[in-house]
């Protein structure tokens, strides 16, 4: 055995002995109490503001029209809805109670929802050629007071970033609703199509809408920087009740002569929000959480 090999073996043995000794010491140490910082975060109330944007997916399930066709199919009267094209906004509060990775919270918000659709009708001459056509483009907005009840699970917490998933239920109280309809005429009676405006109408339709409710789910992450917790979240809302009052579907409205009537609509949303929340329970005045 050479000297170098001997020294190497000794160093290895010494290292192993040192490691075993250290481990035995660690095993013998008393259980370490959680730090005040960890306790602070383990159980906490959070309160703040929440704002964001939403994109609507109107889902019609009972399609109606003020027109009852005599010689064509009712399917020709169906509206062409635009999914996730119209941006809305929301703003409100974010209050939650957090305990060891699980939090439950309310997010009451004023929510402005937009969606739009298009409808077309054509009338024909005796030879079957199109004589006249009408297109109307409708932009519908509805304002709600929305109250989501959210259960949130923190996937893991590492440093100042903690991703989470969440789900819950929501109830939305309708506050107001309005409709803008733009009518365009196309006259083919002289051969070529002549386009002319048929008017643009804005009407209040609050009475045609109703409160609705549903479930939501999504994911997000909390960022603990600058003495405030910033929460970015994205969710999908599925409604379980039509936002339109079905009793009013068949009644007269200011746009009935265009054939306009609300379908039964389950309004689904993609919401993207930012919350700025603050802890309500401080340890003491000297505590510096971040």
């Amino acid at each position: 055995m050479t000297r170098s090999v001997y020294l190497s073996a000794n160093r290895g043995l010494l290292t192993i002995v040192c490691c075993l000794f250290t481990l035995s010491l660690l095993a013998q140490r008393p259980k370490q109490m959680p730090s005040s910082f960890d306790s602070f975060l383990d159980t906490q109330w959070w309160l703040g503001i929440r704002f964001g944007a939403n994109f609507s997916q109107p889902f019609p399930s009972d399609k109606v029209s003020a027109f009852s066709p005599i010689d064509y199919e009712t399917s020709e009267l169906e509206k062409d809805y635009h999914n996730f094209q119209d941006i809305g906004a929301m703003a409100g509060m974010d209050i939650s109670f957090y305990h060891k990775g699980i939090s439950i919270g309310l997010q009451p918000s004023y929510k402005h929802v937009n969606y739009s659709y298009t409808s077309e009708r054509q009338w024909f001459g005796t030879g079957g050629e199109t004589q006249f056509a009408t297109q109307y483009d409708v932009s519908q907005y509805v304002n709600f007071l929305e109250i989501p009840l959210v259960l949130q699970y923190e996937i893991y917490r590492r440093g100042q970033i903690s991703p989470f998933v969440f789900g819950g239920l929501f109830y939305s109280f309708v506050i107001s609703a309005g409709k803008d309809a733009k009518v365009t005429y196309f006259d083919y009676s002289s051969g070529g199509g002549v386009e002319s405006p048929g008017g643009q109408f804005s009407i209040g339709v609050t009475k045609e809408f109703q409160n609705y409710f549903g479930a939501l789910g999504g994911l997000g992450a909390a960022f603990d920087y600058f003495n405030v917790r910033t929460i970015l979240a994205a969710s999908y809302q599925q409604s379980f009740r039509s936002i339109t009052d079905r009793e009013k579907q068949y009644r007269d409205n200011e746009l009935s002569s265009l054939g306009e009537a609300n379908d039964k609509i389950n309004l689904n949303n993609i919401n993207v929000s930012v919350s700025l929340v603050f802890p309500l329970r401080y340890i003491d005045k000297t505590f510096q959480p971040y």
Partner: protein, 396 residues
């Protein structure tokens, strides 16, 4: 396991409570559209059936100056089911559209013979059953049903230059009739002919009925050169006359409430007036202008009008329908006891709406029939059903 059932039940309850139910037959507004730019619908009157509704309409005919006969069948939700057009030799249909037992009747004209025929249809439109009601030259002007389930028909006899009121049984058998002169010369007759061949511009408010329990009939028609409300017991001369002023003044619509107490709408030149409670003298000579209690500037000149009695909560309300300057159909609701207007509702926006008739159905709902101009040009029939609750909400 038990907890799982409870959670599933709760989830189902939460989901299912969103599927609210409602009755689409309670109230609705429907416009009956046709894809042809060449056709137009001129609704006249409607009747409720066990299966839904029937609409009597006039159509344009290439073969005749008179309008053709068309009946449209609707379901209980007011949706179109079927339509049927009578043979072109049957023309000039008139309201009302009447129910006797299980049959639905209206009068029209057999053009080759110029005689008035009684046409009946079934709720499912299984064809037209036609009987001659008034033989000889007679142009139908209006029809109604009396308390004995007999039919009254108002006609014009061009040979005798007479307005004729007749009683007809539901099988078309002529029972009784009497004619009264429209006046010598051709001026009045020309206006009657224009009423038939150019109704949109020159239509006149012909109607007829019977005073309950008296056997005395009334009709709005030409008598002695004047469009008048005439009372008759089928005698050689009328019992009484509420005179108009040629065709420049008279009664647009009238409805007997109790005895000779009427609700009526009248016109004097371009002004319209509503008298919700008027006591008429069916045995005297009076003038319609004396009943005018101020004019209603909202109504268009010589507006078409119709009146029904609607009862709610032990109160009687007179519902008057007419057309506005703004091309809407307006409903004025009057408390019959006080004669005060208690509610207004307007029907129709964006495009013009015209009135055909109104009726109260067996659910105490109000049916409003008329036409609208889809895209501002294509005349289409509309039917609006206002539930009793909706009507009640109009009353202030």
């Amino acid at each position: 396991m038990r907890r799982a059932y409870i959670i599933l039940l709760a989830a189902y309850g939460f989901w299912s409570c969103g599927d609210e139910s409602f009755d689409a037959t309670d109230s609705f507004t429907k416009i009956y559209d046709h894809s042809s730019a060449e056709v137009a619908y001129h609704p006249i009157d409607m009747v409720k059936t066990e299966e839904g509704f029937l609409i009597l309409a006039a159509t344009q005919l290439d073969e005749s100056d008179f309008s053709g006969v068309q009946v449209i069948q609707l379901d209980e939700k007011g949706d179109f089911v079927a339509e049927q057009t009578a043979d072109v030799e049957y023309v000039a249909p008139v309201g009302g559209f009447m129910q006797v037992d299980t049959g639905y009747f209206f009068f029209a004209m057999h053009e080759p013979t110029l005689s008035t025929v009684l046409i009946s249809v079934t709720p499912t439109l299984s064809g037209f059953n036609i009987a001659t009601a008034v033989a000889g030259p007679s142009y139908p002007l209006a029809g109604s049903v009396n308390d004995a389930d007999e039919l009254l028909v108002l006609t014009y006899n061009p040979e005798a230059l007479q307005t004729v009121i007749s009683r007809v049984s539901a099988d078309g058998t002529f029972l009784q009739g009497i004619g009264y002169t429209i006046g010598a010369g051709s001026d009045v007759e020309a206006q009657i002919i224009s009423h038939f061949v150019d109704n949109e511009r020159s239509g006149l408010p012909f109607f007829c009925g019977e005073l309950a329990g008296t056997g005395q009939v009334y009709f709005n028609g030409f008598y002695n050169y004047t469009l008048s409300l005439v009372f008759s017991s089928f005698g050689d001369a009328p019992d009484g006359v509420l005179q108009g002023q040629a065709t420049d003044g008279g009664v647009s619509a009238a409805m007997p409430v109790i005895g000779s107490n009427f609700s009526l709408v009248g016109f004097q030149f371009n002004d319209n007036f509503v008298t919700p409670a008027a006591t008429l003298d069916p045995n005297g000579i009076n003038s319609s202008i004396d009943l005018a209690q101020g004019t209603i500037s909202e109504l268009k000149s010589r507006s078409k009008a119709d009146i029904v009695l609607w009862e709610n909560g032990g109160n009687q309300y007179v519902v008057v329908a007419a057309e506005t300057q703004n091309r809407q159909v307006v409903l004025y609701i009057y408390d019959y006891a006080s004669g005060q207007m208690v509610g207004i509702e307007r029907i129709g926006y964006q495009n013009a709406f015209t009135l055909s008739s109104i009726k109260v159905d067996d659910e105490n709902a109000l049916l409003v029939l008329g036409s609208t101009y889809v895209s501002g040009r294509f005349e289409r029939a509309f039917l609006k059903k206002l539930s009793a609750d909706q009507l009640k909400s109009f009353i202030q």
